[in-house]
């Protein structure tokens, strides 16, 4: 099959590799029809994530058609499914509590050591995101092997196009969980740092949950424009003193809830975190947490801090005192995608949520390297690149 493979910094290629096979009873093989490049894929592209190996297949936002099933898969050939980016077993204690990203069986046993060292316990596996998260081949390919296919993938009814449901795989549930963690009450003002896909979906979700006002903060004009389209007020942090503006815009009270969807923008394990961990590079930790620090200081007393943004290691100058003195609640975590998928699919089918506005570019899989380059070089115009493996075949 053809697959987008990683070879080094700014070097991704579409190679011909062996097709995936059913290896465990609960596996399914999915023929990919749509797959997106995530902002966090750019950190693999930039060479920041350790334990990448030449030839690794990238991609953790994908959907397609079931073409093969293991003996214990509940899927049927021909079904269309969206696959969650987290690999969770559905049988362990954490899956039982719907805390799927804490699944204890998603990672191969040998890959669990590093998480245990860094965080005390290993986390779930992820598709296409280095060997720290399991070394699973990703979905920017013609086919992918999906473990625990009886638990993760959600079946999509016929007649609804890929672009409407593709983002159920990661960024829509992530934006939704961010808003849920902000525990929004009717009449609330919510401030959102970062208008990438997760931030924009958090803006949408916050309004759906009853927020009266949402204030969106970014520096890309095109992304601020998208936030404005959903009814958000905007702050361009390059032109405005964000802290002062939030204070004035809320009559001196501060937002009731704040959402940091900037962070390190990677799915954990950013290289400077690991360096931080080794105490070799502590200076890097100091300014990278700017958004969460500003959010905590801006939040009203007794308010809620939601942090969908990914942090991987230790930080310096974290305003722990403000968190305590102001009595704030902090909620965070990798997304429990499997928990949110059914309700969000319904919201899409009922046309309460539309995510297609985000897609700025659609390319055949064969042009994935150009997709990475344009996404990397122009984040203002390029808000989301969707790859179509089927289209690549047709072009051949």
């Amino acid at each position: 099959m053809r697959a987008l493979t990683w070879h080094g910094k700014h070097d991704v290629r579409v190679d011909t590799v062996d097709d995936p096979e059913i290896l465990n009873p609960r596996d399914a093989i999915i023929k990919i029809t749509s797959t997106a490049i995530c902002g966090s894929d750019l950190h693999l592209y930039d060479g920041y994530i350790p334990t990448m190996m030449a030839g690794d297949i990238l991609g953790h936002e994908f959907m397609g058609e079931v073409v093969e099933t293991g003996a214990r898969s509940t899927l049927k050939k021909g079904q269309r499914v969206v696959v969650p980016f987290t690999i969770a077993c559905g049988a362990c204690y954490h899956c039982g509590k719907h805390q799927y990203s804490g699944c204890e069986n998603g990672l191969p046993a040998d890959n669990q050591d590093i998480g245990q060292e860094l965080y005390g316990q290993p986390m779930a596996g992820l598709f296409g995101y280095s060997h720290l998260t399991g070394g699973y081949a990703g979905g920017q390919a013609e086919y992918v092997r999906v473990p625990f296919s009886d638990v993760g993938p959600i079946v999509i009814p016929d007649g609804i196009e890929d672009d409407k449901v593709l983002f159920l795989s990661d960024i829509l549930p992530t934006g939704w969980m961010a808003a849920e963690n902000a525990e929004i009450e009717p009449g609330d003002t919510v401030a959102v740092w970062g208008c990438g896909p997760v931030g924009l979906f958090a803006v949408q979700s916050a309004f759906l949950m009853g927020a009266e006002r949402v204030i969106a903060i970014d520096h890309f004009p095109r992304r601020l424009e998208l936030a404005r389209r959903f009814g958000a007020e905007t702050i361009n942090f390059e032109e405005t003193d964000t802290a002062a503006a939030l204070f004035e815009m809320t009559g001196g009270i501060g937002p009731d809830a704040v959402i940091d969807s900037v962070g390190l923008e990677a799915h954990g394990f950013f290289v400077d975190n690991v360096l931080d961990q080794l105490k070799k590079s502590t200076f890097l930790g100091t300014d990278r947490i700017h958004s969460i620090r500003q959010a905590i200081l801006a939040c009203r007393k007794g308010g809620r801090v939601s942090m969908p943004a990914v942090y991987g290691g230790f930080v310096d100058k974290f305003p722990l005192g403000a968190l305590m003195e102001k009595g704030l609640t902090l909620k965070t975590g990798q997304t429990h995608v499997q928990h949110y998928m059914p309700a969000l699919l319904n919201a899409i089918l009922e046309e309460k949520i539309d995510t297609t506005f985000l897609i700025s570019h659609t390319l055949p899989l064969e042009q994935a390297p150009q997709g990475y380059k344009m996404f990397h070089d122009n984040q203002n115009e390029v808000t989301k690149v969707v790859l179509k493996p089927g289209r690549a075949l047709a072009a051949e």
Binding site: D18, E21, L23, N24, C92, N105, P108, G135, A137, F148
Partner: protein, 197 residues
């Protein structure tokens, strides 16, 4: 639970986590297991399955090679004795005969190697009810470090250090019992064979 109490340090933590390992081994081998060396390893894992099921799986030693990474073969000799062939850090294999020293159905299995073992070892695996979380499984292993310091360095390099190995083996046991399969990130059967060889 009382028999795992760390009496010397006056707390309830498992013996294997004591700072004073010498004292811990003395205590453990006093009541828990037969002494076979100067290294004590113990790991606990919670498995979301009933105690009886986990005990029954483990009691049939022929079930174990797929979850015990370094075990090449286990020959069950009779109801109490078995012959173990295990990969050694250097690349060859080591062997021993093992005899069950205590067996309480649904609760615990203890064993000790017999005379002439390449690596003298003993241990026990316990199964304790954990309410709606299933069963807490605790493995305790006592063994003689082969080839002294050199062997220790070698086994770390080849990732066959028993402490790490015990943890990984228990994770595989948990995966198989909870999900019915051992997780792998291989993409093809060929990769899987290479990974498991």
């Amino acid at each position: 639970m009382a028999d795992t109490m760390n009496r010397a340090s006056h707390d309830d933590a498992p013996l294997s986590t004591a700072n004073n390992q010498r004292q811990a081994i003395d205590e453990a081998t006093d009541s828990l297991i037969v002494q076979r060396g100067d290294t004590l390893v113990a790991r606990a894992v919670t498995i979301n399955r009933p105690r009886a099921e986990l005990y029954a799986f483990w009691r049939d030693f022929s079930n174990l090679p797929p979850i015990l990474d370094n075990v090449v073969r286990i020959d069950v000799l009779d109801g109490e004795r078995s012959h173990w062939v295990v990969r050694s850090p250097g690349g060859g294999t080591v062997e021993w005969d093992s005899r069950i020293t205590e067996d309480r159905e649904g609760e615990l299995i203890a064993w000790a190697s017999e005379e002439g073992a390449d690596i003298p070892n003993s241990g026990r695996i316990e199964f304790r009810d954990a309410g709606n979380r299933g069963t807490v499984v605790v493995a305790t292993i006592n063994y003689a470090q082969p080839y002294g310091t050199f062997g220790r360095i070698l086994s770390r390099i080849f990732q066959r250090e028993p402490k790490m190995q015990a943890q990984r083996d228990l994770r595989r046991f948990k995966q198989l019992m909870e999900t019915g399969e051992v997780a792998t990130s291989s993409r093809t059967r060929k990769q899987l064979e290479e990974e498991r060889s």
